[in-house]
């Protein structure tokens, strides 16, 4: 970036230094006026049309300390058996299956995140699956923005006695554009000019409630944990 900038600067300097000579032939005041009016109207047009562009409010995360430990992590909470206290908004998706088999196999090609299994006597011949999704923070300079609402949700399918976790596609790239303020604006609202591109993630996991006596099998690639009752 620095190298590009310095090359550009040299070009600019050269241009401005020459520009008395450049303008001597063709550019009269009238022509310039037209060009300038054109430029300004393009700018104004751009600004006006930018208002009508579809955009979403960015979800800025206040007071997030990415380096701090995550004690209020949802996964930890759930692991401690406090699933019911989790904010319902955090449950991105849920499924209910009636299931009569004695054995359940968990399987996935791509899912690498956590799976929590709660054995409960509340359920008979049924399985409940929840996909819990916490924040997904991306550093935008010194501020953090939660982009979790744009990340894809995982899906679940129950085929005979296998519970398959499916991701939407193999590799998804979600392109977000964030409109920032110019640096003097940010200086005036007290934001630091100098940030970094730190990204940090909250927790995302499947929470599966199964009848107490259900036998569960899974491959060693899956990260499965049980709720401590």
């Amino acid at each position: 970036m620095g190298a590009i900038l310095s090359i550009i600067l040299i070009i600019i300097f050269w241009f401005i230094a020459m520009n008395k000579r450049l303008t001597q032939k063709s550019l009269t005041t009238k022509k310039l006026k037209l060009i300038f009016i054109g430029y300004i109207s393009i700018l104004i047009l751009g600004t006006v049309s930018a208002f009508f562009l579809p955009s979403s409010e960015a979800n800025m995360m206040e007071g997030l300390d990415p380096s701090g430990d995550m004690t209020d992590n949802l996964f930890m909470k759930a692991e401690q058996g406090e699933f019911s206290s989790i904010d319902k908004q955090r449950i991105a998706d849920s499924w209910e299956y009636s299931y009569t088999g004695e054995k359940l196999t968990l399987s996935s090609d791509s899912y690498e995140e956590g799976i929590l299994i709660e054995r409960t006597d509340e359920l008979k011949e049924a399985i409940e699956v929840f996909y819990i999704k916490d924040w997904q923070a991306l550093g935008v300079n010194a501020a953090y923005m939660d982009v979790s609402e744009y990340t894809p949700d995982m899906g679940v399918e129950l085929i005979s006695d296998t519970l398959e976790f499916v991701s939407p596609e193999e590799e998804i790239i979600i392109e977000l554009a964030f409109n920032e303020l110019g640096f003097p604006m940010k200086q005036m609202i007290g934001e630091s000019q100098f940030g970094n591109g730190y990204s940090s993630s909250g927790s995302r996991f499947f929470y599966i409630r199964v009848p107490e006596d259900l036998q569960i099998e899974f491959s060693e690639y899956l990260y499965v944990d049980y709720v401590n009752n």
């Binding site: 550019l27 430029y39 700018l43 562009l53 690498e112 977000l176 554009a177 409109n179 303020l181 005036m188």
Partner: protein
């Protein structure tokens, strides 16, 4: 005999200012060029942060008029230097002028150019957004609105203008100094680098201190005070210097 015409400074300054607006079209062409380069660079090389796991990648590209503003600041600096050069000065002294009217009309012109530069730089944010939308494959646009009040926008715009004006004043002063003595063209950078080196050697952060003086000032009124005082001192020095300058 023909009677001598009495003349007021302000009327001559007004005439010269008007003339400069018509004559120095290159300044505005340079502005457009610089800003277009800035806009294109922003589109190509916008800053990105991303998060990736093996299922998906989230990329956030940031678009802001910052680069355009920075380039506009550099434009103001270079133009102010150019305005002090002999070629421009000769243009000025073709018609009625003295050093003071020359300086005042230059400053009025620079102020106008800087105001236009600041407005267009700030407006470039919209066109950047639009062009991003058109040219790039963006899923969602994110904006932050609720945190910034209208007052903040106005303050930010004023601060943008002040940065541009500070650059112009610095350029004008440096330009005047070099016009006064050509040796300063080499001497000034050497002196600055030398001073910076000494400052760093003694444990100070050198230039960073000067930058922090302005860039880390979060209070609008204090920034205004710092900037205005700097502007007055800078332009006053330039006028004093040029009052002894021989022209044409």
């Amino acid at each position: 005999m023909m009677s001598l015409t009495k003349v007021s400074l302000s009327s001559v300054v007004r005439l010269q200012y008007r003339y400069k607006l018509k004559a120095y079209t290159g300044v505005f062409m340079g502005l457009i060029l610089v800003q277009v380069i800035g806009i294109l660079l922003t589109l190509v090389g916008s800053m990105q942060t991303s998060f990736s796991n093996n299922v998906y990648t989230v990329e956030v590209s940031m678009f802001s008029p910052s680069l355009v503003i920075i380039l506009t600041i550099i434009w103001a600096f270079l133009n102010a230097i150019l305005m002090t050069t002999k070629a421009y000065r000769e243009d000025d002294f073709t018609f009625v002028s003295n050093r003071l009217s020359y300086n005042l009309s230059n400053m009025a012109f620079l102020l106008t150019a800087c105001v236009i530069g600041a407005i267009t730089a700030l407006l470039s944010g919209g066109i950047i957004q639009l062009l991003t939308y058109i040219t790039q494959d963006i899923d969602v646009f994110l904006t932050v609105t609720h945190e910034v009040s209208v007052g903040d926008y106005v303050a930010g715009a004023v601060v943008t203008l002040l940065y541009i004006l500070l650059a112009a004043t610095a350029g004008y002063l440096i330009g005047m100094m070099t016009q006064f003595n050509k040796r300063l063209i080499i001497l000034i950078p050497v002196l600055l680098i030398g001073l910076n080196y000494i400052a760093q050697h003694n444990g100070n952060s050198g230039f960073v201190n000067i930058l922090e003086f302005y860039f880390m000032e979060y209070s609008f009124s204090l920034f205004l005070l710092k900037a205005v005082v700097t502007l007055i001192i800078g332009s006053g020095l330039a006028i004093l210097l040029s009052n002894r300058l021989e022209v044409r």
